[in-house]
């Protein structure tokens, strides 16, 4: 049985029954790098304890989570991280790690493999040590990350290089891709630059304007056609996503180090805290989670009249962050949809907001939807389990 078709059916089933198939779990916001674009508050404001996280993992397993991503901050800064991993693997999650890899030694890479971690995503900003280290603000970090990446690859982990795109490295992403190719690992670009958690918007200065992203969007890495699902599976998937904007709150969610549950890492609508309620109470019972689930594509007032909707990857999280309306359009989505339409040959594309005279030339919103362009960019990505 082709894995992609099975995956399509699994996603369709999980969406239909609101099974929490995918969980992104940040276990800490602390970090050993100080990346110039990072939006996190790195202080520890009371992370969940080992016991608390283990309880949450057991609840997630019971509820049907299969794909579990541990992320941060830097996950390996938690002294109990291998204990949490062992617990997660014992509960038979399919585990992916997101890390800067600075703390991964050869022995630790072997331990990850022994525990059955399948995939690891490692941030690398440039193939040039000086550029990478200037972004992380940790001298020597490029060499250490690259060495650790090789340890993981040698162990047989599926390694993916993630290259966050910003002004500092937009000119060199092809070299990172070439490095990934030469190492035999996969590659993904991520243009998401967010305001800081405390509202400080200084990080947005590093964010790329749509005009700067255009050449990247035209690169072949964004163009590879998706493998066609079998006809019936395509129908299953289309039916499953029919009338819902995305997976957030439907079969996917985000958990913060403090136990807060959100529909998505990019949709900051708090739905409950795992120190106060069980996972099931929050996932099935919270009014906010229901609010997210009630957003229907057919109800999107402005977007439904938009002439370039087929070029848009509207993100409800982005729309929510801009003006609190989960069903609204967003400046950034409109700007990027116009750029995508231009690439597709549309002359003078007019987004919904432009038609209303409300599109401002801004790049101060959140480019979350390009993550999805990137996420669909390589065959490996699309087939990723």
């Amino acid at each position: 049985m082709a894995s992609a078709a099975v995956m399509d059916r699994l996603v369709a089933r999980s969406l239909a029954g609101n099974a929490p198939l995918n969980v992104h779990f940040d276990v800490t916001y602390r970090c050993n790098e100080r990346c110039v674009h990072c939006y996190l508050d790195h202080a520890d404001h009371g992370e969940m304890t080992t016991a608390e996280i283990k309880r949450v993992l057991a609840e997630l397993a019971d509820a049907g989570t299969l794909f579990l991503t541990f992320s941060g901050g830097e996950i390996f800064l938690r002294p109990d991280f291998f204990e949490l991993l062992a617990c997660a693997r014992k509960l038979r999650f399919d585990v992916t790690l997101k890390t800067n890899a600075l703390l991964i030694t050869e022995e630790r890479a072997a331990e990850l493999r022994r525990l059955g971690v399948r995939r690891i995503q490692i941030s690398l900003y440039s193939a040039d040590a000086a550029i990478h280290d200037a972004i992380t603000k940790v001298p020597g970090s490029f060499a250490r990350t690259l060495e650790a990446l090789c340890f993981c690859h040698t162990q047989g982990l599926l390694v993916k290089i993630s290259c966050p795109l910003m002004k500092q490295n937009i000119a060199v992403w092809r070299e990172v891709q070439a490095l990934a190719d030469s190492l035999g690992v996969t590659f993904i670009m991520d243009p998401t630059i967010s305001p800081m958690m405390d509202g400080d918007r200084s990080t947005l200065r590093m964010r790329l304007a749509p005009s700067e992203l255009l050449p990247v969007m035209q690169a072949p890495v964004f163009d590879s056609p998706a493998p066609a699902p079998a006809k019936d599976d395509a129908a299953d998937m289309a039916a499953a996503f029919d009338n819902i904007p995305c997976s957030a709150g439907h079969n996917s969610l985000y958990i913060s180090p403090y136990g807060d549950v959100y529909p998505c890492v990019q949709l900051p609508l708090p739905t409950g805290n795992l120190r106060e309620k069980s996972f099931a109470e929050i996932w099935y019972g919270s009014a906010q989670m229901r609010r997210v689930r009630n957003v229907k594509e057919s109800d999107l007032a402005i977007c439904n009249d938009c002439a370039i909707r087929q070029h848009c990857q509207r993100c409800p999280g982005l729309a929510f962050m801009e003006d609190g309306d989960l069903g609204g359009p967003s400046q950034r989505a409109c700007e990027l949809a116009e750029a995508a339409a231009r690439i597709a040959g549309v002359r003078d594309p007019v987004s919904g907001l432009r038609a209303l005279g409300r599109l401002h030339a801004t790049s101060n919103s959140h480019p979350a939807q390009l993550v999805h362009i990137a996420a669909l960019s390589t065959p490996q990505e699309r087939e990723a389990l």
Partner: protein, 106 residues
Amino acid sequence: MSAPQPVLASVRPAQNPLAAWREIDGVVVVISPEDSILHELNPTAGFIWKHATGERTTEEIARLLADEYEVDAVTALADTRDMLAELAAKKLLRLETPSAGEVSRG
């Protein structure tokens, strides 16, 4: 196609601890650690998988299968053996070798 290795009734099959799996909406899916393939098990295979904990023998699992699906014992044992052999060939399961005493009873 060559016939799979026969599975002794006394063997205690155990899920590969490196495999990830879940039952979602009544369907068991398993990711094989070797090649990252996502497998969807049919109801019989899913039933057998869930009972392959390393504690029950093939014969005991077959008995549970017979009760669950109301099939006769011989058919259930044959189906269980076939399915276990198939799952083991995909390295999703380990077929724990029984001790000498158990083999003679099996």
